[in-house]
Symmetry: C2
Subunit: 149 residues, 2 copies
């Protein structure tokens, strides 16, 4: 019974790693890596997000996002219209080059999603997402309740 929990965590670890590899494969020719991909992707979907909004969507640490944005900005993938010194609350935009790479990434994601979806019915997919979200919340609750003790 309990053994299934570890089985479950091992699978999650493995999937996590696979996702990172797929992202890397797609953008390594540009010198980009997995964490950059999420930023590009979400800006592709929604132009003008701020750093904090990106953090929320990627579920990444703000430190990770901050460094990703540094790299993307210095290498001409994104623009930041900030009046102030830093990126404070300022909306971020893809450059033409950024949009090009993001489109490539989006296409790849689409292909992978097709592969993954092929063996599932729409119903199964929905159920799976619901379970994932439920588990995520439930684990967070575990962490919090433990901390309070």
């Amino acid at each position: 019974m309990e053994e299934r929990f570890e089985l479950f965590t091992a699978l999650i670890t493995k999937i996590s790693r696979s996702i990172r590899k797929i992202k890397n494969q797609e953008v390594e020719e540009y010198g980009l890596r997995s964490p950059h991909v999420s930023c590009l992707y979400y800006l592709y979907i929604t132009d003008g997000l701020t750093a904090t909004e990106l953090c929320e969507r990627c579920e990444e640490d703000k430190a990770t996002v901050s460094r990703s944005l540094d790299y993307l900005e210095t290498n001409g993938y994104i623009l930041c219209e900030s009046k102030s010194a830093k990126r404070y609350k300022s909306p971020l935009y893809l450059t033409e080059q950024g949009r090009m790479v993001a489109a490539k990434v989006a296409a790849k994601i689409s292909r992978v999603l097709d592969d993954v979806s092929a063996a599932m019915t729409e119903e199964e997919r929905v159920a799976f997402y619901r379970s994932l979200a439920m588990i995520s919340d439930s684990l967070e609750a575990c962490i919090k309740s433990d901390r309070e003790q």
Copy 2:
């Protein structure tokens, strides 16, 4: 449509992190951390596994497992009956101290699993595991097919 892939990866990332935190919470008082927990746990379930077998079950890199075992051995959590210099193919066993901590970990895992399971039916659980495994395989296949191009 594609947006769900990123949603999915964000959730996986988040769950991954939560799992690590839960493991850490449970063993930090012993100076242990997340990667050590998997090793202890699997030895608790099945005594006498070798390093490679542990790698397979944890889905961890052999380098990670190797270093975890180093730590667990020098700190008296496991025993290695190796005739040869290294751990080569030799079965690993928990010490009394190791078994004590592993039992604590197993109990914790059981509690977390109860929480997570509470909101799911047995049927949903089974479906979820099946989907996870399927997705894991499918992503691996994507990685391989890309590499061959």
